[in-house]
Protein backbone atom coordinates (compact mmCIF):
# COMPACT_ATOMS: atom_id res chain seq x y z
CA UNK A 1 0.00 0.00 0.00
CA UNK A 2 2.79 2.36 0.93
CA UNK A 3 4.40 1.80 -2.44
CA UNK A 4 1.17 2.47 -4.25
CA UNK A 5 0.76 5.75 -2.43
CA UNK A 6 4.13 6.90 -3.63
CA UNK A 7 2.88 6.88 -7.17
CA UNK A 8 1.54 10.32 -7.86
CA UNK A 9 -1.85 10.46 -9.46
CA UNK A 10 -1.72 12.82 -12.36
CA UNK A 11 -4.59 14.58 -14.05
CA UNK A 12 -4.36 13.71 -17.69
CA UNK A 13 -4.53 16.28 -20.44
CA UNK A 14 -7.98 15.74 -21.84
CA UNK A 15 -8.16 18.04 -24.82
CA UNK A 16 -6.97 15.39 -27.28
CA UNK A 17 -10.03 13.19 -27.02
CA UNK A 18 -12.52 15.91 -26.19
CA UNK A 19 -11.84 18.23 -29.07
CA UNK A 20 -13.74 16.39 -31.82
CA UNK A 21 -16.71 15.91 -29.49
CA UNK A 22 -16.89 19.59 -28.57
CA UNK A 23 -16.75 20.46 -32.22
CA UNK A 24 -19.59 18.04 -32.92
CA UNK A 25 -21.68 19.72 -30.21
CA UNK A 26 -20.94 23.14 -31.58
CA UNK A 27 -21.87 22.03 -35.07
CA UNK A 28 -25.15 20.53 -33.85
CA UNK A 29 -25.96 23.66 -31.87
CA UNK A 30 -25.57 25.75 -35.01
CA UNK A 31 -27.96 23.47 -36.88
CA UNK A 32 -30.46 23.71 -34.03
CA UNK A 33 -30.25 27.48 -34.06
CA UNK A 34 -30.43 27.81 -37.86
CA UNK A 35 -32.88 25.12 -38.84
CA UNK A 36 -34.29 23.71 -35.64
CA UNK A 37 -32.59 20.35 -36.31
CA UNK A 38 -32.11 18.19 -33.24
CA UNK A 39 -29.18 15.91 -32.53
CA UNK A 40 -28.25 13.19 -30.05
CA UNK A 41 -24.73 12.07 -29.16
CA UNK A 42 -24.17 8.76 -27.39
CA UNK A 43 -21.21 9.20 -25.09
CA UNK A 44 -20.79 5.46 -24.76
CA UNK A 45 -19.23 5.42 -28.22
CA UNK A 46 -16.58 7.94 -27.18
CA UNK A 47 -13.08 6.72 -26.45
CA UNK A 48 -12.89 8.63 -23.19
CA UNK A 49 -9.83 8.40 -21.05
CA UNK A 50 -9.68 9.10 -17.36
CA UNK A 51 -10.68 12.68 -16.71
CA UNK A 52 -12.24 13.23 -20.11
CA UNK A 53 -15.80 12.97 -18.86
CA UNK A 54 -15.10 15.27 -15.93
CA UNK A 55 -13.48 17.75 -18.27
CA UNK A 56 -16.52 17.62 -20.54
CA UNK A 57 -18.81 18.27 -17.58
CA UNK A 58 -16.67 21.16 -16.46
CA UNK A 59 -16.79 22.63 -19.92
CA UNK A 60 -20.53 22.27 -20.27
CA UNK A 61 -21.27 23.54 -16.77
CA UNK A 62 -24.76 23.84 -15.36
CA UNK A 63 -27.59 25.91 -16.80
CA UNK A 64 -30.98 27.00 -15.56
CA UNK A 65 -33.11 23.96 -16.26
CA UNK A 66 -32.88 20.49 -14.83
CA UNK A 67 -35.25 17.60 -14.45
CA UNK A 68 -35.64 14.05 -13.41
CA UNK A 69 -37.57 11.07 -14.71
CA UNK A 70 -38.25 7.94 -12.70
CA UNK A 71 -38.82 5.12 -15.07
CA UNK A 72 -36.85 1.86 -14.84
CA UNK A 73 -34.56 3.75 -12.54
CA UNK A 74 -33.67 7.36 -12.43
CA UNK A 75 -32.84 9.59 -15.38
CA UNK A 76 -31.26 12.94 -14.63
CA UNK A 77 -31.71 15.71 -17.14
CA UNK A 78 -29.76 18.93 -16.97
CA UNK A 79 -29.33 21.78 -19.34
CA UNK A 80 -25.73 22.94 -19.66
CA UNK A 81 -24.62 26.54 -19.42
CA UNK A 82 -25.19 26.58 -23.15
CA UNK A 83 -28.98 26.60 -23.65
CA UNK A 84 -30.00 23.88 -26.06
CA UNK A 85 -27.26 21.49 -24.96
CA UNK A 86 -28.68 18.94 -22.54
CA UNK A 87 -27.09 16.11 -20.63
CA UNK A 88 -29.24 13.01 -20.25
CA UNK A 89 -27.91 10.58 -17.67
CA UNK A 90 -29.76 7.24 -17.48
CA UNK A 91 -29.49 4.96 -14.46
CA UNK A 92 -31.06 1.61 -13.75
CA UNK A 93 -33.00 0.71 -10.65
CA UNK A 94 -29.79 -0.11 -8.81
CA UNK A 95 -28.16 3.19 -9.56
CA UNK A 96 -25.90 1.84 -12.31
CA UNK A 97 -25.51 4.09 -15.31
CA UNK A 98 -26.95 2.54 -18.45
CA UNK A 99 -26.53 5.39 -20.89
CA UNK A 100 -25.17 8.91 -21.05
CA UNK A 101 -26.24 11.15 -23.88
CA UNK A 102 -26.00 14.70 -24.98
CA UNK A 103 -29.10 16.03 -26.67
CA UNK A 104 -29.00 19.19 -28.67
CA UNK A 105 -32.64 20.22 -28.56
CA UNK A 106 -35.04 22.70 -27.07
CA UNK A 107 -36.70 19.98 -25.04
CA UNK A 108 -35.21 16.54 -24.32
CA UNK A 109 -37.45 13.80 -25.69
CA UNK A 110 -37.64 11.89 -22.43
CA UNK A 111 -39.28 14.85 -20.71
CA UNK A 112 -42.10 15.06 -23.23
CA UNK A 113 -45.11 12.97 -22.36
CA UNK A 114 -45.33 9.97 -24.69
CA UNK A 115 -48.56 10.22 -26.79
CA UNK A 116 -49.14 6.48 -26.20
CA UNK A 117 -49.80 7.26 -22.55
CA UNK A 118 -52.30 10.06 -23.10
CA UNK A 119 -55.30 7.75 -23.41
CA UNK A 120 -54.38 5.92 -20.21
CA UNK A 121 -53.70 9.26 -18.61
CA UNK A 122 -57.09 10.58 -19.61
CA UNK A 123 -58.84 7.47 -18.34
CA UNK A 124 -56.92 7.55 -15.09
CA UNK A 125 -57.59 11.25 -14.62
CA UNK A 126 -61.31 10.72 -15.20
CA UNK A 127 -61.33 7.86 -12.74
CA UNK A 128 -59.47 9.85 -10.13
CA UNK A 129 -61.75 12.88 -10.57
CA UNK A 130 -64.85 10.72 -10.31
CA UNK A 131 -63.51 9.14 -7.19
CA UNK A 132 -62.81 12.54 -5.66
CA UNK A 133 -66.26 13.80 -6.42
CA UNK A 134 -68.05 10.74 -5.11
CA UNK A 135 -66.28 11.09 -1.80
Amino acid sequence: MSKLERIKVVELPAEQNLRPLLHEIGHALRKLADRGEEHVIDLRAMPFGPGDEAALMRFLGEGEASGRVDALGETRIRESRFPGVWLIDHYNEDGGRIALQIEITRMPSILRTPPEELQDSLAGFGLALKERETN
Binding site: N17, D42, R44, G49, A71, L72, I98, S109, P114
Partner: protein, 363 residues
Protein backbone atom coordinates in the same frame (compact mmCIF):
# COMPACT_ATOMS: atom_id res chain seq x y z
CA UNK B 1 -44.31 -16.14 -18.86
CA UNK B 2 -45.75 -17.42 -22.04
CA UNK B 3 -43.56 -18.23 -24.97
CA UNK B 4 -45.74 -16.17 -27.22
CA UNK B 5 -45.25 -12.94 -25.34
CA UNK B 6 -43.34 -10.17 -27.04
CA UNK B 7 -40.80 -8.13 -25.20
CA UNK B 8 -43.13 -5.13 -25.23
CA UNK B 9 -45.83 -7.13 -23.51
CA UNK B 10 -43.45 -8.54 -20.95
CA UNK B 11 -42.17 -5.13 -20.00
CA UNK B 12 -45.68 -3.70 -19.73
CA UNK B 13 -46.71 -6.63 -17.59
CA UNK B 14 -43.86 -5.70 -15.29
CA UNK B 15 -45.26 -2.16 -15.06
CA UNK B 16 -42.62 -0.50 -17.16
CA UNK B 17 -43.90 2.80 -18.50
CA UNK B 18 -43.53 4.03 -22.06
CA UNK B 19 -40.74 6.35 -20.92
CA UNK B 20 -39.08 3.40 -19.23
CA UNK B 21 -39.40 1.36 -22.39
CA UNK B 22 -37.90 4.14 -24.47
CA UNK B 23 -35.09 4.46 -21.98
CA UNK B 24 -34.53 0.75 -22.28
CA UNK B 25 -34.45 1.09 -26.05
CA UNK B 26 -31.99 3.96 -25.81
CA UNK B 27 -29.73 1.83 -23.69
CA UNK B 28 -30.15 -1.14 -26.01
CA UNK B 29 -29.33 0.89 -29.09
CA UNK B 30 -26.34 2.27 -27.28
CA UNK B 31 -25.27 -1.23 -26.32
CA UNK B 32 -25.59 -2.39 -29.89
CA UNK B 33 -23.44 0.60 -30.80
CA UNK B 34 -26.23 1.90 -32.98
CA UNK B 35 -26.50 5.64 -33.51
CA UNK B 36 -29.07 7.31 -31.21
CA UNK B 37 -31.26 8.02 -34.21
CA UNK B 38 -31.97 4.28 -34.34
CA UNK B 39 -33.66 4.30 -30.94
CA UNK B 40 -37.17 4.49 -32.36
CA UNK B 41 -36.49 1.69 -34.82
CA UNK B 42 -35.21 -0.40 -31.95
CA UNK B 43 -38.29 0.42 -29.93
CA UNK B 44 -40.56 -0.63 -32.74
CA UNK B 45 -38.70 -3.89 -33.27
CA UNK B 46 -38.38 -4.72 -29.59
CA UNK B 47 -42.11 -4.09 -29.08
CA UNK B 48 -42.81 -7.00 -31.36
CA UNK B 49 -39.79 -9.16 -30.54
CA UNK B 50 -40.80 -12.75 -29.76
CA UNK B 51 -39.18 -14.61 -26.93
CA UNK B 52 -36.47 -16.90 -28.27
CA UNK B 53 -35.26 -20.14 -26.81
CA UNK B 54 -31.56 -20.25 -26.07
CA UNK B 55 -29.39 -23.33 -25.59
CA UNK B 56 -25.96 -22.63 -24.12
CA UNK B 57 -23.28 -25.28 -24.54
CA UNK B 58 -19.98 -25.12 -22.67
CA UNK B 59 -17.07 -27.19 -23.95
CA UNK B 60 -13.35 -26.76 -23.23
CA UNK B 61 -13.68 -23.55 -21.32
CA UNK B 62 -12.96 -21.91 -18.01
CA UNK B 63 -16.45 -20.50 -17.40
CA UNK B 64 -14.88 -17.06 -17.62
CA UNK B 65 -17.27 -16.10 -20.38
CA UNK B 66 -20.30 -17.01 -18.28
CA UNK B 67 -18.69 -15.25 -15.34
CA UNK B 68 -18.20 -12.15 -17.41
CA UNK B 69 -21.87 -12.14 -18.26
CA UNK B 70 -23.31 -13.01 -14.87
CA UNK B 71 -20.87 -11.46 -12.44
CA UNK B 72 -21.99 -7.95 -13.10
CA UNK B 73 -22.29 -6.56 -9.59
CA UNK B 74 -25.36 -4.50 -10.32
CA UNK B 75 -27.97 -5.99 -12.60
CA UNK B 76 -28.06 -3.78 -15.62
CA UNK B 77 -29.90 -3.51 -18.85
CA UNK B 78 -28.19 -6.76 -19.83
CA UNK B 79 -30.27 -8.57 -17.29
CA UNK B 80 -33.46 -7.33 -18.91
CA UNK B 81 -32.35 -8.87 -22.16
CA UNK B 82 -31.49 -12.05 -20.38
CA UNK B 83 -34.72 -12.05 -18.54
CA UNK B 84 -36.42 -11.97 -21.84
CA UNK B 85 -34.73 -14.95 -23.44
CA UNK B 86 -35.75 -18.44 -22.48
CA UNK B 87 -32.46 -19.96 -21.41
CA UNK B 88 -33.45 -23.57 -21.72
CA UNK B 89 -30.06 -25.17 -21.18
CA UNK B 90 -26.88 -23.92 -19.52
CA UNK B 91 -25.22 -26.55 -17.45
CA UNK B 92 -23.49 -24.08 -15.17
CA UNK B 93 -26.55 -21.99 -14.44
CA UNK B 94 -29.48 -24.37 -14.64
CA UNK B 95 -30.95 -25.95 -11.56
CA UNK B 96 -31.56 -29.29 -13.24
CA UNK B 97 -28.71 -31.74 -13.43
CA UNK B 98 -27.86 -35.09 -14.97
CA UNK B 99 -30.56 -36.74 -17.10
CA UNK B 100 -33.03 -33.95 -16.37
CA UNK B 101 -30.69 -31.35 -17.72
CA UNK B 102 -30.07 -33.29 -20.91
CA UNK B 103 -33.79 -33.89 -21.24
CA UNK B 104 -34.36 -30.13 -21.05
CA UNK B 105 -31.90 -29.61 -23.86
CA UNK B 106 -33.53 -32.22 -26.05
CA UNK B 107 -36.95 -30.89 -25.32
CA UNK B 108 -35.94 -27.35 -26.27
CA UNK B 109 -34.28 -28.67 -29.42
CA UNK B 110 -37.48 -30.41 -30.48
CA UNK B 111 -39.93 -27.73 -29.40
CA UNK B 112 -38.07 -24.88 -31.08
CA UNK B 113 -36.44 -26.80 -33.91
CA UNK B 114 -35.06 -24.37 -36.50
CA UNK B 115 -35.75 -21.35 -34.28
CA UNK B 116 -33.58 -21.60 -31.19
CA UNK B 117 -30.36 -19.74 -30.69
CA UNK B 118 -27.29 -21.81 -29.85
CA UNK B 119 -24.65 -20.15 -27.71
CA UNK B 120 -21.33 -21.96 -27.37
CA UNK B 121 -18.40 -21.19 -25.15
CA UNK B 122 -15.20 -23.23 -25.16
CA UNK B 123 -13.33 -25.03 -27.88
CA UNK B 124 -13.96 -28.51 -29.18
CA UNK B 125 -11.23 -31.17 -28.88
CA UNK B 126 -10.73 -33.24 -31.99
CA UNK B 127 -7.66 -35.10 -30.75
CA UNK B 128 -9.56 -37.52 -28.54
CA UNK B 129 -13.26 -37.09 -27.78
CA UNK B 130 -12.52 -38.22 -24.22
CA UNK B 131 -10.77 -34.93 -23.44
CA UNK B 132 -14.12 -33.28 -22.88
CA UNK B 133 -17.55 -34.90 -22.58
CA UNK B 134 -20.91 -33.94 -21.11
CA UNK B 135 -23.21 -36.67 -19.94
CA UNK B 136 -21.03 -39.09 -21.86
CA UNK B 137 -21.53 -37.24 -25.07
CA UNK B 138 -18.40 -35.88 -26.73
CA UNK B 139 -18.31 -32.14 -27.36
CA UNK B 140 -18.12 -32.76 -31.07
CA UNK B 141 -21.24 -34.90 -31.13
CA UNK B 142 -23.17 -32.57 -28.89
CA UNK B 143 -22.25 -29.54 -30.97
CA UNK B 144 -23.23 -31.23 -34.23
CA UNK B 145 -26.47 -32.55 -32.78
CA UNK B 146 -27.47 -29.24 -31.22
CA UNK B 147 -26.35 -27.08 -34.09
CA UNK B 148 -28.48 -29.03 -36.52
CA UNK B 149 -31.74 -27.38 -35.44
CA UNK B 150 -30.36 -23.99 -34.46
CA UNK B 151 -31.42 -20.81 -36.23
CA UNK B 152 -27.99 -19.32 -35.57
CA UNK B 153 -24.96 -19.90 -33.40
CA UNK B 154 -23.19 -17.40 -31.21
CA UNK B 155 -19.65 -18.51 -30.40
CA UNK B 156 -18.90 -16.68 -27.18
CA UNK B 157 -15.29 -16.17 -26.21
CA UNK B 158 -12.06 -16.67 -28.06
CA UNK B 159 -12.07 -20.44 -27.40
CA UNK B 160 -15.35 -20.99 -29.20
CA UNK B 161 -14.55 -18.39 -31.82
CA UNK B 162 -10.95 -19.25 -32.65
CA UNK B 163 -9.86 -22.15 -30.43
CA UNK B 164 -8.41 -19.84 -27.80
CA UNK B 165 -6.13 -21.05 -25.04
CA UNK B 166 -6.71 -24.80 -25.69
CA UNK B 167 -5.74 -24.19 -29.29
CA UNK B 168 -2.44 -22.54 -28.32
CA UNK B 169 0.71 -24.39 -29.32
CA UNK B 170 1.19 -27.29 -28.93
CA UNK B 171 -2.60 -27.72 -28.77
CA UNK B 172 -2.56 -31.07 -26.96
CA UNK B 173 -6.29 -31.72 -27.33
CA UNK B 174 -6.52 -30.78 -30.98
CA UNK B 175 -8.89 -27.96 -30.01
CA UNK B 176 -10.77 -26.19 -32.78
CA UNK B 177 -13.38 -23.47 -32.97
CA UNK B 178 -17.09 -23.84 -33.63
CA UNK B 179 -16.73 -22.52 -37.13
CA UNK B 180 -14.11 -25.17 -37.85
CA UNK B 181 -16.84 -27.77 -37.42
CA UNK B 182 -20.14 -26.18 -38.28
CA UNK B 183 -20.23 -24.90 -41.82
CA UNK B 184 -23.91 -24.67 -42.66
CA UNK B 185 -25.24 -22.30 -39.99
CA UNK B 186 -24.86 -18.58 -39.49
CA UNK B 187 -22.22 -18.16 -36.79
CA UNK B 188 -21.38 -14.99 -34.90
CA UNK B 189 -18.03 -14.96 -33.15
CA UNK B 190 -18.01 -12.85 -30.02
CA UNK B 191 -14.32 -13.15 -29.24
CA UNK B 192 -12.47 -11.96 -26.21
CA UNK B 193 -11.04 -13.68 -23.22
CA UNK B 194 -13.58 -13.08 -21.88
CA UNK B 195 -15.76 -11.03 -24.18
CA UNK B 196 -17.21 -7.76 -22.92
CA UNK B 197 -20.59 -8.70 -21.35
CA UNK B 198 -22.47 -5.96 -23.10
CA UNK B 199 -21.05 -7.17 -26.40
CA UNK B 200 -22.56 -10.60 -25.72
CA UNK B 201 -25.89 -9.07 -24.82
CA UNK B 202 -25.54 -6.60 -27.66
CA UNK B 203 -25.45 -9.49 -30.11
CA UNK B 204 -28.40 -11.13 -28.35
CA UNK B 205 -30.24 -7.81 -28.47
CA UNK B 206 -29.54 -7.56 -32.15
CA UNK B 207 -30.90 -11.04 -32.72
CA UNK B 208 -33.94 -10.15 -30.65
CA UNK B 209 -34.46 -6.78 -32.22
CA UNK B 210 -33.89 -7.51 -35.84
CA UNK B 211 -34.37 -11.28 -35.86
CA UNK B 212 -31.09 -11.84 -37.59
CA UNK B 213 -27.37 -11.48 -37.21
CA UNK B 214 -25.47 -8.21 -37.40
CA UNK B 215 -22.96 -7.36 -40.09
CA UNK B 216 -19.81 -9.40 -39.54
CA UNK B 217 -16.12 -8.87 -40.17
CA UNK B 218 -13.91 -11.42 -41.87
CA UNK B 219 -13.60 -13.34 -38.62
CA UNK B 220 -17.36 -13.52 -38.23
CA UNK B 221 -17.36 -10.86 -35.53
CA UNK B 222 -20.01 -8.13 -35.40
CA UNK B 223 -18.61 -5.08 -37.13
CA UNK B 224 -20.24 -2.67 -34.69
CA UNK B 225 -18.08 -3.97 -31.86
CA UNK B 226 -15.06 -5.33 -33.69
CA UNK B 227 -14.89 -2.93 -36.60
CA UNK B 228 -12.19 -0.75 -35.12
CA UNK B 229 -8.96 -1.56 -33.41
CA UNK B 230 -8.21 -0.83 -29.80
CA UNK B 231 -5.41 1.40 -31.05
CA UNK B 232 -7.71 3.53 -33.17
CA UNK B 233 -10.16 4.13 -30.35
CA UNK B 234 -7.62 4.33 -27.57
CA UNK B 235 -7.63 7.51 -25.52
CA UNK B 236 -3.85 7.19 -25.30
CA UNK B 237 -3.54 7.27 -29.08
CA UNK B 238 -2.54 10.97 -29.14
CA UNK B 239 0.54 10.03 -27.15
CA UNK B 240 1.44 7.39 -29.68
CA UNK B 241 1.10 9.93 -32.44
CA UNK B 242 3.30 12.35 -30.55
CA UNK B 243 5.88 9.71 -29.86
CA UNK B 244 5.39 9.71 -26.09
CA UNK B 245 5.77 6.27 -24.58
CA UNK B 246 5.95 4.62 -21.21
CA UNK B 247 9.21 2.67 -21.07
CA UNK B 248 8.48 0.76 -17.89
CA UNK B 249 5.37 0.22 -15.84
CA UNK B 250 6.43 2.68 -13.19
CA UNK B 251 8.24 5.43 -15.01
CA UNK B 252 7.11 8.97 -15.53
CA UNK B 253 5.56 8.11 -18.88
CA UNK B 254 3.48 5.38 -17.27
CA UNK B 255 2.27 7.82 -14.62
CA UNK B 256 1.40 10.40 -17.18
CA UNK B 257 -0.63 7.87 -19.06
CA UNK B 258 1.53 7.73 -22.17
CA UNK B 259 1.21 5.10 -24.83
CA UNK B 260 2.02 1.53 -23.82
CA UNK B 261 3.22 0.39 -27.25
CA UNK B 262 6.75 -0.15 -26.09
CA UNK B 263 5.52 -2.25 -23.19
CA UNK B 264 4.00 -4.68 -25.62
CA UNK B 265 0.49 -3.30 -26.05
CA UNK B 266 -1.26 -5.24 -28.82
CA UNK B 267 -3.83 -2.51 -29.38
CA UNK B 268 -2.79 -1.96 -33.00
CA UNK B 269 -3.57 -5.54 -33.99
CA UNK B 270 -6.59 -6.05 -31.75
CA UNK B 271 -10.15 -5.40 -32.78
CA UNK B 272 -12.55 -4.98 -29.90
CA UNK B 273 -14.77 -2.45 -28.18
CA UNK B 274 -12.92 -2.20 -24.86
CA UNK B 275 -11.88 1.40 -25.47
CA UNK B 276 -15.49 2.58 -25.66
CA UNK B 277 -17.57 -0.08 -23.86
CA UNK B 278 -15.02 -0.56 -21.10
CA UNK B 279 -15.35 -3.11 -18.31
CA UNK B 280 -17.08 -3.35 -14.96
CA UNK B 281 -20.02 -1.16 -15.85
CA UNK B 282 -17.88 1.25 -17.77
CA UNK B 283 -15.41 1.75 -14.95
CA UNK B 284 -12.17 1.17 -16.80
CA UNK B 285 -10.36 -1.15 -19.15
CA UNK B 286 -6.88 -2.65 -19.36
CA UNK B 287 -5.09 0.26 -21.01
CA UNK B 288 -6.81 2.78 -18.75
CA UNK B 289 -5.59 0.79 -15.77
CA UNK B 290 -2.06 0.98 -17.09
CA UNK B 291 -1.48 -2.32 -18.84
CA UNK B 292 -1.14 -2.93 -22.53
CA UNK B 293 -3.76 -4.81 -24.49
CA UNK B 294 -3.04 -8.53 -24.75
CA UNK B 295 -4.94 -8.91 -27.98
CA UNK B 296 -7.31 -11.46 -26.45
CA UNK B 297 -10.00 -11.10 -29.10
CA UNK B 298 -7.66 -12.06 -31.93
CA UNK B 299 -7.05 -15.55 -33.28
CA UNK B 300 -3.92 -17.20 -31.88
CA UNK B 301 -3.25 -14.36 -29.50
CA UNK B 302 -1.47 -16.69 -27.12
CA UNK B 303 1.04 -17.54 -29.77
CA UNK B 304 1.42 -14.05 -31.21
CA UNK B 305 4.76 -13.40 -29.63
CA UNK B 306 4.77 -12.34 -25.99
CA UNK B 307 2.51 -9.97 -24.13
CA UNK B 308 5.33 -7.61 -23.17
CA UNK B 309 7.15 -7.49 -26.47
CA UNK B 310 6.39 -4.49 -28.68
CA UNK B 311 4.49 -5.49 -31.76
CA UNK B 312 7.31 -4.49 -34.08
CA UNK B 313 9.86 -6.66 -32.34
CA UNK B 314 10.49 -9.98 -33.99
CA UNK B 315 9.43 -12.87 -31.86
CA UNK B 316 12.48 -14.95 -32.48
CA UNK B 317 16.13 -14.88 -31.62
CA UNK B 318 17.42 -11.91 -33.59
CA UNK B 319 20.71 -11.71 -31.75
CA UNK B 320 21.29 -15.32 -32.70
CA UNK B 321 20.47 -14.56 -36.30
CA UNK B 322 22.89 -11.66 -36.34
CA UNK B 323 25.55 -13.75 -34.66
CA UNK B 324 25.11 -16.56 -37.15
CA UNK B 325 25.18 -14.11 -40.03
CA UNK B 326 28.33 -12.46 -38.71
CA UNK B 327 30.10 -15.74 -38.09
CA UNK B 328 29.22 -17.50 -41.30
CA UNK B 329 29.62 -14.30 -43.29
CA UNK B 330 33.08 -13.72 -41.88
CA UNK B 331 34.12 -17.33 -42.48
CA UNK B 332 32.83 -17.48 -46.04
CA UNK B 333 33.99 -13.93 -46.67
CA UNK B 334 37.52 -14.63 -45.52
CA UNK B 335 37.63 -17.83 -47.56
CA UNK B 336 36.21 -16.18 -50.67
CA UNK B 337 38.34 -13.10 -50.18
CA UNK B 338 41.49 -15.16 -49.71
CA UNK B 339 40.73 -17.10 -52.87
CA UNK B 340 40.18 -13.90 -54.81
CA UNK B 341 43.32 -12.41 -53.42
CA UNK B 342 45.27 -15.48 -54.42
CA UNK B 343 43.85 -15.32 -57.94
CA UNK B 344 44.97 -11.74 -58.15
CA UNK B 345 48.48 -12.38 -56.88
CA UNK B 346 48.82 -15.49 -59.03
CA UNK B 347 47.96 -13.40 -62.05
CA UNK B 348 50.64 -10.94 -60.99
CA UNK B 349 53.23 -13.66 -60.62
CA UNK B 350 52.39 -15.33 -63.89
CA UNK B 351 52.48 -12.06 -65.72
CA UNK B 352 54.64 -11.79 -68.81
CA UNK B 353 55.55 -8.26 -69.80
CA UNK B 354 53.65 -6.91 -72.75
CA UNK B 355 55.82 -5.54 -75.54
CA UNK B 356 55.08 -3.14 -78.32
CA UNK B 357 56.01 -5.86 -80.77
CA UNK B 358 53.21 -8.00 -79.42
CA UNK B 359 50.86 -5.07 -79.76
CA UNK B 360 51.91 -4.27 -83.25
CA UNK B 361 51.52 -7.91 -84.22
CA UNK B 362 47.91 -7.79 -83.21
CA UNK B 363 46.74 -4.42 -84.36
Amino acid sequence: MSDHNTLGEILRERGVSRRGFLKFCTATASMMALPPTMTMAVAEALEKAPRPSVIWLSFQECTGCTESLTRSHAPTIESLIFDHVSLDYHHTLQAASGDAAEAAREEAMHAHHGKYLLVVDGSIPLGDPGFSTIAGISNLDMLKETAEGAAAIIAVGTCAAFGGLPHAAPNPTGAVSVSDIIKDKPIVNVSGCPPIPSVITGVLAHFLTFGGLPELDQYGRPMVFFGQSIHDRCYRRPFYDKGLFAETFDDEGARKGWCLYRLGCKGPMTYNACATMKWNQGTSWPIESGHGCLGCSEPDFWDAGGFYKALSIPTSDLAGAIGTGLGVGAAVGIAAGAMAHKKKTDAEHEREPLTVEQLEGES
